[in-house]
């Protein structure tokens, strides 16, 4: 089963998110991440979700989403055709001995230090899933206290647009 990234244009209405999450819950679809935000037009919102599904299930997910009256358009953000990024904050152990090494790794990944305390740092990184995973892998030995991921969001490249 592969991971797919879907982008939805929906009406900015009461209950839309509940309809979508309810649909996934009752039909047993796996949802890995979900982000919601406004668009240039106040009447619409944009939802980006990543799902793990085989081709047939993915097809059903798209069709079932399209059946919802408040969902205007569903597109798949495919690798190469779209920019997909995730924002992650990581609180990592860092003292006088390790701080500079953590910062060095962060620089390599173009992550930035957004909070400094005596025993920890908070790092901010934006990137693709694989970049984020690679970074977490490198930071892990220093002791990750906690991290939070925004979920993937993305936009089609070039002239393609979902259309408001």
């Amino acid at each position: 089963m592969e991971r797919h990234c879907l982008s939805l244009l929906v009406e900015n209405n009461f209950g839309v998110l509940a309809r979508i999450s309810g649909l996934f819950a009752r039909r047993g679809y796996n949802i890995d991440s979900l982000t919601v935000g406004t668009t240039q037009d106040d009447n619409f919102s944009r939802i980006t979700m990543t799902v793990t599904a085989d081709e047939q299930t993915l097809e059903q997910i798209k069709k079932q989403l399209n059946k919802l009256i408040n969902v205007i358009k569903v597109i798949e953000l495919k690798q190469g055709e779209a920019i997909r990024r995730e924002l992650v904050f990581i609180k990592v152990k860092a003292n006088d001995q390790t701080r500079s090494r953590v910062v060095e790794i962060s620089n390599l990944f173009r992550a930035s230090v957004v909070d400094v305390a005596k025993e920890s740092l908070v790092l901010e990184i934006t990137g693709t899933l694989s970049k984020v995973d690679a970074f977490l892998n490198m930071i892990e030995p220093y002791g990750i206290i906690e991290f939070v991921r925004s979920g993937v969001t993305g936009l089609q490249r070039g002239k393609h647009q979902i259309g408001c």
Partner: protein, 545 residues
Amino acid sequence: MIAAKLIWKCLERENVTTIFGYPGGALLPMYEALRQSSIEHILVRNEQAAPHYASGYARESGKVGVCLATSGPGATNLVTGIATAYLDSIPIVALTGQVNRDLIGTDAFQEADIFGATTPFTKHSYLVKDPLDLPRIIREAFHIASTGRPGPVLIDIPRDLQEENIKNVKFVDKVNIRGYKPTYEGHTGQVRRAIRKIKSSKRPVIYAGGGVRLSYAQDELLKFAEDTGIPVITTLMGIGAFPEDHPLYCGVVGSHGFEYSNKIMEHADLCICIGARMSDRGTTNNVANMNNMELIHIDIDPAEIGKNINDTNIPIVGDAKTVLLELMSKDIKKDTQDWLKTIEMIREDFPILFDANTELDGINPKLLFDAVSDIVPDDTTLVADVGLNQIWAALYFKIIKNRRFFTSGGLGTMAYAIPAAAGVAFATREHPKTILAVCGDGSFQMCMGELGVIAEHHLPVKIIMINNHKLGMVRQQQHDNYGKNHYSGTDINFDVDFMEIAKAYAIKGYRASTNEEALDAIKDALAQPGPTLVECQVNEDFIHI
């Protein structure tokens, strides 16, 4: 104009003449305004029945059925009926009262989140927050309920909003919902492929579902079948899509269908599925060799294609009637004589036996429904409940000419038949027709209160109750799954005097314990202008197959 009045005005503009409802605190302003409306309110006896009345009314009239209940318990009582309409794709609009807007979310008296509770089984739903939105929302609700794949739409209306005064009311005629544009016409490329496939197939069958009836495509299906010589099998919901006295008619498929129909499916090399979802019920006992059969799937709901059967060879999203006409726009004549001969042999190998030689006492319901077919008019509507009574009525009562067969096929909701049959009666008051409501003693007792409505309005609903003192279908399943004497919770132990019940409601009652008595009673009942109850004693061990 006060919003409550505006609501009724909007419904009048949708040609609503009859609604089925039950009042309550959160509906006080709407009921006050209803007094001055042209819309007739039918007081049901339990909100649970209200969507079924609306469903029977919608199925008979082709209009959208409307039901109404107050907030909280009134609204939650609608839930089963709304889900029933959803699973059978019946166009109804459910209006519910809601607590005042400033009380929503506070667990106020009679507050329930009916919007949230019904999202899984409504086609769409609204919680009105601004009275100015009412004309648009009501117009959209009727549009959504009745177009594309029909279904129930719920509108939740807070009480304080009903009392608001609105200046400059603007009614809405045109609907433009960006996220809702149903497809009626089939994709020309796929239609062309389908025609080629139909022509090259050797053993094709048409698998007709409820969608054929919802799109009123019976005439087109008949012509298509006759032009191509392809035999027609229906699902439970598809009963009535094709005349049962036609030589190309091949019965009802599925877990409770005819054995010969399922065998024919097994022998087919091409299934032309029209307006059906290839549900578990429909495909049990017949898709063992789906590997050897190709599938053309015609459905107005794209999500039904590929949902239950993975390998759809030719998907056609569109309306049954439109797509059938598109298929017939080309020469599709073919020779199916060899296949029809094979089918004749299958019919002979698996005959319909009616259990005519049973030694069980009481009424043989299979023979009874077959006989009732011969004495009722050609435009009879039969509404079947759920259980053994439903299967017997579905399989042995003949749907020919303009007869109609309604049942809760998808959700399998007991206590559907009596209120739905009453809904049919309300839809045909100007041209009364024969309406049979078939139920068991179980389903009858689940909605007995609705007899009050039938009696009050003197509706010509002829109830045929199969009384085996058991919840027969579940009992049979207990027998089939666990063996004899593994019955559990399926005895109805108190012997109700149903004749006294009928008398209490001033409904003419008949008790029959032989087929002759039952048929005589039904004949007499048909001659009565008003409601009747024919109680048919059936042996508890008389089972389905």
